[in-house]
Symmetry: D2
Subunit: 182 residues, 4 copies
């Protein structure tokens, strides 16, 4: 029997109880229901900036890259700041390379304080292509994020939850296809 | 007599002796020859990540924002990593807001290890608009950056140097126009 | 006394009674109230496709390019189709070049059938830079466009109307500045 | 035995002896060598503009959409004009919808008169996602296109030819995967 697909979530914010952390948890529940395993990089053990002295030998960087190497698929969830992904998310991507990401599947989510927009999703899509990842066409942007979750941390809009479910289905299926080709 | 235009350079790398640091120095020489003053944020006193505990009260962040408030114009110079600006550059932009940047002039430069491309310039252009900056149409991408400078740190390609000069002329002129409107 | 600024509107749809035609009319009313003149290219005399035999000698193309040459500023209004500007808008831009657009001011508007998004505005901003136009940071996207206008053809959302007014103010001011530099 | 994959090429120029026409022919030779069939939409029977009266009932539009419906994969090849795909290409995309393109594979090529750039590829990638296509990460931009082909119409740069070959391999494989899911 095939090993389960391992999905790595990367959060574009520092705090795991952020909206992006919650979105990743919701995505992970769908992963579990479909038989996939998941791990999260939530910056609780922070990466340095690329270019800081010794950054490539940093313990957190090594753990991060090993986690990425061991994963078949990725979910990126970033807040949109100033019309694109957060610096935290971009710095996390900067530590990845072809070695960890080629021919692996990616799904993208973003959160916005105001009305929904696709800038972050678009720029992450272009960036992931540069490290030879396959981004599924399904994607999720959650606008007005401060009122998007109820007291249980669930999305108020069940349709949005179903979109995430569909996106995760697509992510896992394509991760299986891509694993068979590697 | 009008006060000179103050130009703030922001580097998308950590080290000021990087290619981006050199590009900024070249741009500053043109600023000086046109009577403008300049300051640089070169990450020698590093910013934290947006979202780190206490980040908005950080001393470096305060100095950075004060430098931005006191400036009339900005030059952003970022390496292109994975098809867009560096995480260091984006995190620096994340600490700015309308308050420091509205109706101020911006010029954009990028460096690439391989062949030239405009992804970083495009994404910075979109991002700067979100904080209501005015980006001049002139822009500079330096490809194959490891062979772009001679032993004196000058650009091997004099045309590139002239492009930077034209861009700085445009930056200062539009900064003067925009200052007259603020 | 200075000649009035001449603003050219270009519609990304074929029919001038389209939502984009209406948006342009609203923008033109603001132009008039600020003393600017306007002309519109609304495709009532259609351009050919770039690359059709004889396209560069086409009568409509010549009128279009003369209209552009005689203008100080441009307003582009395009529907968003499939995540970017319409083919009609892009083909219209393809007939312009540096000769008609360098150092002239541009303002951007877009309409969407569903929720608002900035793809069309972003891609037009990048494209206009390529022909050396100056795009003002103010921009307008009208989502859910079928319910955006009342029976008089006015925008239901007065704030949106005020955004257009502010954008036109910015367009005319920067057109005057740029004209003084040409 | 499975039916062969049918690949549809769409050219962003009017003339099939254009550089984009030649690139598509090169891509088709690789398709054939891998057992795939191909068809081309080269604008020899031109589409109208979206929005022209009667455009959706136009005979060429109907043939075009039927060709798309019957295809498993697409290759888009567009010149880069003014920092993005041609109006001809965008208008061709505007006539497609989810019905013809959902969960089908796409590969992207572009040509540039001057130095290489990725704007057209990036904007096509975003646009194709909007019609739910899967774009393979491999892509090809041919700069300085006037000297890119020898007298036989082959690419002077054999590496570029190999990149196209790799891209087509990826396109066909993913088209097979996606067909198995539809």
């Amino acid at each position: 029997m095939a090993e389960p697909i391992r999905v790595m979530g990367i959060s574009g914010t520092f705090s795991s109880d952020s909206a992006n952390g919650r979105l990743l948890q919701i995505a992970f529940e769908h992963c579990e229901s479909m038989g996939a395993e998941w791990v999260i990089w939530d910056n609780s053990s922070p990466l340095p900036f690329v270019g800081e002295e010794g950054c490539w030998e940093d313990t957190a960087v090594k753990s991060y890259k090993e986690m990425a190497s061991a994963s078949d698929a990725f979910i990126l969830s970033s807040p949109e700041y100033h019309g694109t992904m957060s610096g935290v998310m971009k710095n996390s991507l900067d530590f990845l390379s072809y070695d960890q990401t080629s021919d692996k599947a990616f799904a993208l989510m973003s959160t916005l304080g105001g009305q929904s927009n696709s800038n972050t999703l678009n720029h992450m899509r272009i960036s992931v292509r540069w490290i030879h990842g396959w981004v599924v066409p399904e994607q999720v942007a959650v606008g007005n994020v401060r009122s998007a979750f109820n007291e249980n941390g669930d999305l108020v809009d069940e349709k949005m939850n179903q979109r995430i479910r569909g996106m995760i289905r697509s992510l896992i299926d394509s991760a299986e296809y891509l694993r068979s080709k590697r």
